[in-house]
Symmetry: C2
Subunit: 93 residues, 2 copies
């Protein structure tokens, strides 16, 4: 039988990976100033979804859920902001 703490470790590992995975994407977008192949629609839906996860976390009072989704919200929000900047500057030109 698997111990409870080992199960929790898998859950924490999963949360850390899916949250921190956005760091290299933010870094790449800042460095390259290129968002061409990033989907605007994906990040619109994703950021809204992560915002809903934060709301859900607040309502059910789950601090790890709030924290993980708040970090993801900031990181994915940054990517969305940079994509929007590129999209609007393209429209302007």
């Amino acid at each position: 039988m698997i111990a409870v703490d080992k199960i929790s470790l898998v859950g924490y590992g999963a949360a850390i990976c899916t949250t921190c995975s956005f760091i290299p994407q933010v870094w790449q977008v800042i460095q390259s100033r290129n968002t061409e192949s990033i989907s605007l629609l994906m990040y619109c839906i994703f950021v809204f979804g992560v915002f809903l996860w934060c709301v859900y976390g607040v309502v059910v009072r789950d601090l790890p859920l709030i924290m993980a989704n708040l970090i993801t919200l900031i990181l994915s929000g940054l990517i969305l902001a940079m994509k929007l900047r590129d999209t609007t500057s393209k429209v302007d030109n």
Copy 2:
């Protein structure tokens, strides 16, 4: 006070958004055949994290968690595969 079913609705809405958000990214990558601004490292870590969420879902026997993460695993795995194809073809040239 918010009814329990309304709280669940927020959770389901969050899960549907964060899962389905990858569909427009998969579609854009297939259509444009361009993955330049997509971070390889992001999708490596993200796919591994979602795989861990699936394992966690199986261990705690949470079917909605398994289903949502299985769909996300397939969609993000497709993006990773197309990014890897572009990366290796660049190395070949």
